[in-house]
Every structure is written in C-alpha cells, then in structure tokens.
Symmetry: C2
Subunit: 190 residues, 2 copies
C-alpha cells in the first residue's frame, strides 16, 4: 500500500541506488554493500533495484566506474598535464592518497575480479590508463611509453596496496609523500 502523496514510481531509482551504494561504502565499508541495504536506503523494496541492475555485480561495477572517474579527477587536480618527473610524482602521491582516503572504494575498483563485460567499467578504466599513458609520453618523449607507463603505474598501484594493507607505514602524510616521491625518482633513475 503505497502512500497516496508519494509517487509509486521512484523517479530515478537507478541513480538513487548508485548514490546509496556509495554512501554505504563510505559509512560502513565494503561488507555492508548489499543490494538489500541499498534498497532500504533508497526507501524501496528489496526487489526494486533489479529493474535497474541485473545483479549485485552490475551495481558494484557501476560503483567502481564512479570510483575510476573520481580517481581521474583527483589525479587531474594534482596536476592537469604533468610534463616533468616532479609533476608526475605529485600525481603518483595523489593516486596513493586516493587509495587511503577511499579504501573501500579502491578495493572495489582493484581488489576483486573485474567484470570485463561491463562497458561502463571498461571505459572508465581505459580512461585512467590512457591518462597515465599520456603523462608518461609527455614527461619522457624519448622513452617507450608502452614499456615505461605500465611500470610506473604498477609501482604506484603497488605502493597504494601496500599502504592499504598496512605493509607500509602511513601514519604521517609527509612520510608517505616522501616515500612515493623517492620511489618514483628511483624508478626514473634520477
């Protein structure tokens, strides 16, 4: 028995589910990211989200895609178009800081098997990949970006995970900046 004044149809349940999922992730961690909890938060029955997401995996992919876009924004905010190793290092720091600031989101983006059939997700990761590629090409025009870009990405990505798992000490932000910067510089032979 729906309320008379409330609309029976939600309006934009797809978007509501997505933001509910992001809120849940932020507030309660990745374990709390269930379709039922999302439905509750959106004020809707447990089955309703299935009209907009094929299954839980599809919602998770949508959340991950948002994560990739936010990551791209953060990197661009650190430096829109880096062209020196120092600028590249600042982008690397932003990458690691993103992982530490949004650990649950980062783990959803990279910690579990990725649904390669999800267009949105694939496109969003490709965008991040392309962005890194361009940076490397711009910073090191005479290098082979095909070889160097993955190495740099891997280094930064690995640092993020090791910090996230507590394998590296992240208590002081300055130490983190130093370590990431130093690692980048040593990879680049500076």
């Amino acid at each position: 028995m729906p309320q008379a004044n409330a609309t029976y149809h939600h309006g934009d349940l797809r978007a509501a589910c997505l933001s509910a999922a992001l809120e849940l992730l932020e507030e309660e961690g990745e374990a709390a990211l269930s379709l039922r909890a999302v439905a509750r938060r959106a004020g809707v029955s447990p089955a309703a989200p299935y009209r907009h997401y094929e299954d839980r995996e599809a919602l998770v992919s949508a959340v991950a895609a948002v994560g990739y876009r936010e990551l791209a924004e953060r990197l661009a905010a650190a430096h829109p178009a880096p062209s020196t190793p120092e600028q590249l290092a600042s982008v690397a720091v932003a990458y690691v800081q993103f992982a530490l600031k949004r650990p649950a989101l980062f783990r959803i983006m990279f910690g579990e098997p990725c649904d390669r059939d999800n267009e949105e997700r694939v496109a969003a990761t490709a965008a991040v990949s392309l962005y890194l590629h361009e940076i490397v090409a711009r910073c090191f025009p005479q290098s082979d970006p095909e070889a160097l870009a993955p190495a740099i990405w891997a280094l930064v990505h690995g640092l993020a995970f090791l910090y996230l798992d507590g394998k590296l000490d992240a208590t002081t932000p300055a130490a983190l900046v130093d370590r990431v910067t130093a690692s980048i510089h040593s990879l680049l032979g500076l």
Copy 2:
C-alpha cells in the same frame, strides 16, 4: 546418528577445514569459500568448524597464511639467495607468476582488508617482507634497503595486480617475463 564404525570425532578437523578451503578456492573461486561449504567438504556439520576457527575471517586468515608460505617457497625456488639484479628479476617474475597461477589465493592474501590481529597471518607476511628486504640488501649493499625494498616490492606487487585485473596483457608467458624484467631493470636504472 553417527555411524558406528566412523569416529564421531574427526581427528584433525582444523587441518581438514584448511585444506578443504584451499581446494574450494582452487576449484570454485573465492566466492565459494564459505564455512558451510568447507564443512560439507570435510564431511562435518555446519557448526563444527566453529570449534576450530572463531569465525569465517579466522579461516580466511589461515588460508592467507598458507598462501604467504607458498609464495615464499615459489620465490625461493626461483632463486634461493639472489645477489644480482638479474637474479632479483627472476624472483620478481616468480612473484607475478604466482599471482596469475593462484589468483583467488592471491586476492585473499592481498585484495581484502587484512586481519592484523591474526598472529599467523602477520608472521607469514613479515617473513615475505623480510625475505625481500634481505634480497635487496644483498643485491645492493651500498643502497638504503629501507627505501629501495618497498619500491621494488611495490613495483612487483603492482605488476601482479595489473596483470590479474587484465590491465596488462598476460596471454604469452614470455611477454610477461620480458615486461617484469624490463620494469625491474628500469627501476634499478640499468
């Protein structure tokens, strides 16, 4: 009503649960790793494992600890005591190959929040960390291992994850060896 000939008490249910968990992981992936499935495979009631593992998390940590030990073995098998960059690179290749050969196990080891209260798990990761540290100290006696070791670990760890997520192409094993080796060499400025 237990069978008369079968022993009511299992004998070593703790170990049986652990190997059942590893089998499940290998055969059906990480999603299938439930305490109930483990109990079924061990031929025991759903509640029995709780006598040996406090909760699911504790069993997962035990599985992860096995993973860390296996990883250490694989690295040691690649080279017991590397002392040159080439030997170090072969260890790095073994690290990435381990991740690709046991993806579900690797993700359990590194892809989700780690229970830092689990002694076994902490000890096993510390062993891996120490091993890497020693290698770096041996290969580059004049370097600062405190700075270089995490950078190398991060690079290799990141490569493993990017391969695992399909962000790097792992179709031909030789290409993987080349890329990992090249990345290591570039980090070391060779």
